[in-house]
Amino acid sequence: MSQLEIKDLHVAIGDKSIVKGFSLTIRSGEVHAIMGPNGTGKSTLAKAVAGHPDYTITSGDVLLNGASILAQEADERARSGLFLAFQYPSEIPGVSIANFLRAAVQARLAEGEELDATAYYKRLYAKMDLLKIDRKFTSRSVNDGFSGGEKKRCEILQMAMLEPKFALMDETDSGLDIDALRIVADGVNALRGGPSAPGILLITHYQRLLDHIVPDHVHVMWDGRIVKSGDKSLALELEAKGYDWVKKEFAAA
């Protein structure tokens, strides 16, 4: 059982303060959804936790199993078990998905330890079968010329292969039509069961993703922090009343 603790986190981009006192604890196997209108700091939170160099953490802490990760570079955090599924994944021309993932898996091995190529491909193909991804997919260059749906499936495949302790999924539903959404959701759900299931933080605008990936907890984010938490019914309430409801309630408080 692992635990990711975000404690009173404040994040700025340049001089501008974006995340203002965000706190949340996620345990293995749990799915937390964070909802909120544009510009409330959801993506900033995810990137700051993952260690993006443009985001400055001005105060607060992020602890993985009790130890702060803030002094670690992005790649160290990744190897410690933190995965970010990007809203806009980068294209890497000329590097196949298979080779990219292989490099990522190799990076997790101890110094001097060689990757077992046969075992790697066996595992890769098993994950692809699980996610119903065509074998030809992994010979394509990473995200190069991919449709929105393909990019998101590529993210899910990477997540499946790297078996993180915690996954931050940033607007994984954006730009997906309903069929692609279902495929991606099926993929995430396939990773949910079992003893090594990651803790997941789902960042989304919309309720519709939560019809397919049912969260254990729903949090509403507003102006850089969580203003309301509940179970999956909160998402439905939001859907019915809209974010204006939160704004009004919060402004009145």
Partner: protein, 484 residues
């Protein structure tokens, strides 16, 4: 013969680029001892005396001496091409260069004296122990002599001549003289003139009619069996319908005894012949590498240059093909990597001189840090020709914002019965891409190296397997070192 032990004094930093003795090695770790054999040493500086000396040591025929002396005159009379090329050329001090070093002069140092970073590089490249010692100057030779004579004997059964140019001038003057200096005239440029005056070493290959040489001929073996050539002169003649692949260089860092390298390579592909010339070079970063390479492709013949340039202070190299016969084909595939303090000025020339000739140029350059890469290309298709085609693609990748790249394509296509296609792109490895890869667990250096390997991947795949593998390793090393 007098063997002296010579310990070079610490070189003054400002002039180190043109100073001779211990290049390619961190001079602060210097004090290597050399066994100097002055019997065959032309001394420093260039004069008629130097040229006469070289020719007499090599016991050359009078026509060659005349050729050399004529070239020397041209060299001395020609200005530096700094009206278009970099001013850095002016930093070459011709008076301080040794133009001829004999066989007897071999550096001698012990393995313990080889700097650690160089040892590490050898290790990372997976170079066999024996070769490491040779490359770092601990041993003057390894058993490449045997490898070379094996290949030489093997191909001799097919009538192929594979020799060094000095040997070939003596033993096959009739073939040599017919083609020598015809593809690249002495006065083609200042450095081809220099090479013509003082050339030494290099390969001579003649492939008889219809012979297809099964294995690539490797200069690696041959040159290692001598001293690394400073002014190499290579001439390859593929007679009608024959085929040959020639490989030059290796990816290990080359420790040369001079800071100026100026080779001339001439290829002649007669009717229906195919020549493929592959170069992978990794010079120490104080070397001026100024090379003239050109081939003539006769009717239905094909010449392909594969050229990888890594390292050096300044490389100027524009492999060319003169498409002289109908349906001749020419191709240049090149990769250049310019790291901090390096300038790769490379490109290609395609001179269409017959109907239905086709040429293809794909050039990729990578600039890292303050590294600078320049592409210069010439494609010439005159008006009276029909059915000629050219395709030119130049792609540049910049690793840091202060890297620099320039593209000077000169494509002259006249007449309405010819076609050309030109594409150029400049891309940057951006922070988001690096972050994305780091988020998957790769270090910044690994991420950079993967991005660079991806950039050249489609080109590198066309290389022989061992070269593309070595190239990848080399890029890994270069990129790791570039991350602060």
């Amino acid at each position: 013969m007098s063997a002296l032990t010579y310990t070079p004094p610490p070189a003054p930093a400002a002039d180190s680029a043109t100073e001779n003795p211990v290049v390619g090695i961190d001079q602060t770790k210097g004090d290597f001892s050399y066994n100097m054999d002055y019997e065959f040493d032309a001394g420093t500086g260039l004069s008629e005396k130097t040229v006469r000396y070289i020719s007499s040591v090599k016991k050359e025929a009078p026509w060659i001496l005349e050729f050399r002396l004529n070239a020397l005159k041209k060299f001395l009379s020609m200005p530096m091409p700094t009206h278009w090329a970099t001013k850095d050329l002016e930093n070459i001090n011709f008076d301080k260069i040794r133009y001829y070093l004999s066989q007897g002069q071999k550096p001698k140092r012990t393995w313990d004296e080889v700097p650690d970073d160089i040892k590490k590089t050898f290790e990372r490249l997976g170079i066999p122990e024996q070769e490491r010692k040779f490359l770092s100057g601990v041993e003057a030779q390894f058993d490449s002599e045997a490898a070379y004579s094996n290949i030489k004997e093997l191909v001799a059964k097919q009538g192929v001549i594979f020799a060094n140019s000095t040997e070939a001038l003596r033993e096959h003057p009739e073939i040599f003289r017919k083609f020598f200096g015809k593809v690249i005239p002495t006065g083609d440029n200042k450095f081809s003139a220099l090479n013509s005056a003082v050339f030494s070493g290099g390969s001579f290959i003649y492939v008889p009619k219809g012979v297809k040489v099964a294995q690539p001929l490797q200069a690696y073996f041959r040159i290692n069996a001598e001293n690394f050539g400073q002014f190499e002169r290579t001439l390859i003649i593929a007679d009608e319908g024959s085929e040959v692949v020639y490989m030059e260089g290796c990816t290990a860092p080359k420790f040369s005894t001079s800071t100026l390298h100026s080779a001339v390579v001439e290829l002649v592909a007669l009717k229906g012949a195919k020549i493929q010339y592959i170069t992978v070079q990794n010079w120490a970063n104080n070397v001026f590498n100024l090379v003239t390479k050109r081939g003539v492709a006769h009717e239905e013949a094909e010449i392909k240059w594969i050229d990888c340039n890594i390292g050096s202070r300044l490389t100027m190299k524009y492999p060319g093909v003169v498409l002289k016969g109908r349906k001749a084909r020419g191709e240049v595939l090149s990769i250049a990597l310019a790291n901090d303090g390096q300038h790769q000025d490379t490109g290609a020339k395609m001179i269409h001189a017959a109907d239905e000739t086709t040429s293809n140029i794909i050039a990729k350059s990578i600039s890292v840090g303050q590294g600078r890469s320049t592409y210069r290309g010439v494609v010439h298709i005159p008006k009276h020709l029909k059915g000629c085609k050219n395709n030119t693609e130049c792609d540049a990748l910049l690793i840091n914002s202060n890297s620099r790249t320039d593209t000077y394509p000169a494509i002259t296509v006249r007449g309405d019965q010819n076609a050309t296609q030109h594409e150029a792109s400049v891309s940057k490895v951006n922070e988001e891409m690096i972050f994305y890869m780091q988020q998957r667990g790769l270090t910044e250096g690994q991420a950079m190296s993967l991005a660079v390997n991806g950039f050249i991947n489609d080109l590198a795949r066309q290389f022989p397997m061992e070269y593309s593998v070595e190239l990848k390793r080399l890029i890994d090393l270069e990129m790791e070192g570039s991350v602060g």
